[in-house]
């Protein structure tokens, strides 16, 4: 049986529903050392800001139960260096290149969208509305009004497909997803990390220098699944699932709950070849369940009578 892995996220067509998650896959170079990246429909790079960002003090990561906390502080080389040195390489690995952008403020997001619009070979922009490690991003991800206004301004600034990346650290994620849709986003992705904390009581110190950080990994999967389901029920645009996805069954659970594609994050730290393993696992599961087109299972969660 010939299997069809292709998915459509509005104007963005992907050869497989697998993507990498921002900040967990560099810009492709390191993953490419492990295997051919054809199993991915797209690579999503770490957040890029207008100017280089130094990042937070060390220590930046701490392991927790079936998860981890990070407070990297959005360290990145900034727009100019990225476009000159990194983007050309990122385009060359096979999968489509999605650029994730982050701003200190409204104007920085718009500036970035305008400038990336003029660059070649970018498949979409993902707006990081929701990084918990910098104060500025917060209102765009937690209040429908500012979120819609920002997405609408980005929409005007670029022809590229826009993915609005949502935070789980909100009272009502459905309302934020709707605001992103109303602002003109082509898709939403969820979730970014949950704000968390880890402490060493003997040393009386936080385990990351920033005190708090973002929780990710298998531990957050149930929260992510709930968010994706709520968002998918609230909007007509496609939803991309992120959060603790570690194997092919996880991918299919999210797709049944309403996700059109998924991103692999923390699992890549443990299994740099997770994309390949999961792709093979999906093939097996699809053959087993008689699913020819993976897109057919999106949003098939049964309504309880």
């Amino acid at each position: 049986m010939a299997l069809d892995f292709s998915v459509k996220l509005g104007p963005l067509e992907l050869s497989t529903p697998l993507m990498t998650a921002s900040g967990c896959s560099g810009y492709g170079k390191e993953l490419d050392r492990y295997h051919d990246l054809a199993c991915y429909g797209a690579l999503v790079g770490k957040s890029i800001s207008r100017k280089p960002r130094l990042g937070n003090d060390y220590p930046r990561t701490a392991e927790t139960a079936a998860g981890m906390i990070n407070a990297i502080g959005l360290q990145n080389e900034g727009f100019d260096a990225f476009v000159k040195n990194t983007l050309p390489k990122m385009r060359g690995f096979g999968p489509k290149a999605v650029v994730n952008v982050v701003g200190h403020d409204f104007d920085e997001y718009v500036w970035l969208c305008e400038r990336f619009d003029a660059e070649e070979g970018i498949a979409a922009l993902e707006l990081n509305l929701s990084c918990p490690n910098v104060a500025e991003g917060l209102q765009f991800s937690s209040e429908p009004g500012p979120c819609e206004k920002l997405v609408a301004a980005c929409r005007k600034a670029t022809q590229l497909p826009i993915i609005a990346k949502l935070s789980p650290n909100v009272a009502n994620i459905a309302s934020i997803a709707k605001a992103a849709e109303a602002g003109g986003a082509d898709a939403v992705s969820a979730i970014n990390t949950l704000v968390g904390m880890a402490v060493n009581w003997r040393r009386k110190e936080p385990l990351v220098a920033n005190y708090t950080g973002g929780l990710s990994g298998p531990a957050v999967k149930p929260v992510a699944l709930r968010c994706v389901w709520q968002a998918a029920n609230a909007v007509k645009i496609p939803v991309i699932a992120i959060g603790g996805i570690s194997n092919a069954d996880d991918v299919l659970e999210f797709m049944v709950a309403g996700a059109s594609a998924v991103q692999l994050g923390t699992i890549l730290f443990v299994e740099p070849d997770a994309g390949q393993t999961i792709y093979n696992g999906l093939k097996e599961r699809m053959l087993d369940a008689g699913v020819k087109r993976i897109a057919d299972i999106v949003g098939t969660l049964k309504q309880r009578a």
Binding site: L54, F269, V270
Partner: protein
Amino acid sequence: MPTTERIKLLHDVAVTRRTDFGHGYFELYLDAPELAREMSAGQFFNIRVRSELFPLLRRPFSSFDLLKDARGKPVGVSILGHTVGQGTRMLAGMGEGDRIHLNGPLGHPFELPENPDTRILMVGGGIGLAPFLHSIRQWAPEKRDLMLLAGGRSQRDLGFMKRFANSGANILIASEDGSVGVKGRVTVLLEAELKALKGKPAMVFTCGPWAMMDAVAQICLQAGVPSYASLESIMACGYGVCNGCVAKVKEDNEHGFRYAKTCVEGTVMDCSRLIW
């Protein structure tokens, strides 16, 4: 679209033996011929202790010994472990037939200076001595002038030093309580050795607790001897994608430094480039 030369980095390997040195120190022998051929001294690998996702992250380890068969063919590597938490406790309970999964070799190795007369001073503290047995195994056949300065709190923390016997380096030991070797810190040995050089070229490699490496770096900078530290930062990925494992490296920018990923730019770093 293969753009990169790929070497095998993911290895499912069997433990062939465990030795205990007491007080939480142990050695695991691994059946890993490919790694034994590929690894250079100073590199590390990242160990997945079990296939479940708890504990989640891999644990970074140096290669301790380079294992060869009777004919000198590389058959594996060993790790020297110290039990400090859940991952190392699981490793300490392993034995023949258990399997672990390795990602490596990772990071940049120690690089020897060209001049073969350079005295190579290896300064290790506690578990930070681990990379130096592999170093000696690799460099002794090249007839290098090798000296190992080993420090620890007490004899209990240096039980594994017997594995360095007849390895081909001169060895001096210092312990803080004087239970083995000279009483005091390893930096006292280093200062004496640097004085004794009398103009002979030297290079220092160090690995151990941050405070010790800092002291070693300051002594070497003052003495004008090039020094390199193998940094052991907390890592999430170990191969350059998470930006977690950073150290401050001097840089001509508004801050005077940048954060460098030690897992890919190091873990061996030029001490004079670091902000300590």
